[in-house]
Amino acid sequence: MKFEEIYQNYWQKVFRLAMGYVNDHDLAKDLTQDVFIIVYQKLSTFNKQSSIGTWIFRIASNTCLRSVEKRQKQQTTDLPQDLSSSENQFEDNDQIKFLYQCISTLSEIDRLIISLELEEVPQNEIAEIVGMSNGNVRTKIHRIKEKLNKKMLRYEYS
């Protein structure tokens, strides 16, 4: 696969993954760019043992995990622990923002797992990306979705 093709097919997907992880538009864009720089530099070493998507999402997940080093350099505001206070700040059409904010309150690994799930990456590939068993990933996805659904319902009725 050519880099240009990968770039067109995966840019938005990687951006959403980064956005789910950091919930900061500019930082997510920076991370997405970092991911594609690595993809460009390492594409010749891609050994086709996994699908290109799995390979890119692995790079993207690992780049997100490493973003802590970037954030150490630039001060970011912490998200409120209790979301109930901030829920009313959103207008009805801000559901997307709220979803991403809810995701950003999850643990780092959970953020990656649910982002990949919502991106419609098959669960066995998610397990391959994060290095967990299929069963473990399935359970985690179930729990995270339950949590998110509860928060989204609270938002809808607020």
Partner: protein
């Protein structure tokens, strides 16, 4: 809210996609920058060593102590060069396409090694610096009257001890504070993958 709705909401998030040329340009400039910093550090070290050797051979100092001082300064420069080289190799050794669990493990191990290298470099610097000052003081001690030389010697030893036991740990703590936070962070992440 159903899963489908969540997926639908999730996929509505988008951002303006930068042109591919922009990314390619950045990739090239990253590579150039990294190469430049290696070249600069090598040239600086070679320049310092060359200058010290020039003084050593051209002026040919009579005192052995001065020669030892020059030798220590060269060793100090080499320690710095070797440590920055090792750090560079270490950071580049990580595979970005590992699975997340292995990646975190390796990242943590690298940060621990980085911490060790930085600590060793700082300690080596203090050893070389103290030894240099000790040698320099020795020249003065020999020339002084014993009534003055003994308190002077005690003062020098105390000064070196303060450097080693007070300033060295402080510098190390300052230098490694960020790495320690990262090691702790990656350690917590590692637990999250179990």
């Amino acid at each position: 809210m159903s899963t489908l709705d969540l997926k639908n909401l999730w996929q509505q998030q988008s951002s303006s996609q930068p042109s591919i040329e922009e990314v390619l340009q950045k990739a090239k400039s990253y590579k150039k920058k990294s190469l430049q910093s290696i070249i600069v550090s090598y040239f600086t070290a070679i320049g310092i060593i060359g200058y010290l050797l020039f003084i050593g051979f051209y002026y040919n100092p009579e005192l052995v102590l001065t020669k030892i001082g020059i030798g220590l300064a060269i060793i100090g420069t080499l320690v710095f060069l070797i440590s920055s080289n090792t750090l560079h190799k270490l950071i580049n050794s990580i595979q970005f396409d590992e699975n997340t669990r292995n990646y975190i493990k390796k990242l943590k191990a690298i940060k621990e090694q980085q911490r060790k290298i930085q600590t060793t470099t700082i300690s080596s610097y203090f050893i070389l610096f103290s030894a240099g000052m000790g040698i320099y003081s020795f020249e003065l001690l020999v020339a002084l009257n014993p009534n003055y030389s003994i308190p002077f010697a005690i003062g020098t030893v105390i000064w070196i001890a303060i450097n080693w036991f007070v300033f060295r740990p402080k510098v190390i703590k300052k230098q490694t504070a960020k790495i320690d936070t990262l090691i702790q962070y990656f350690g917590d992440l590692e637990k999250g993958t179990n």
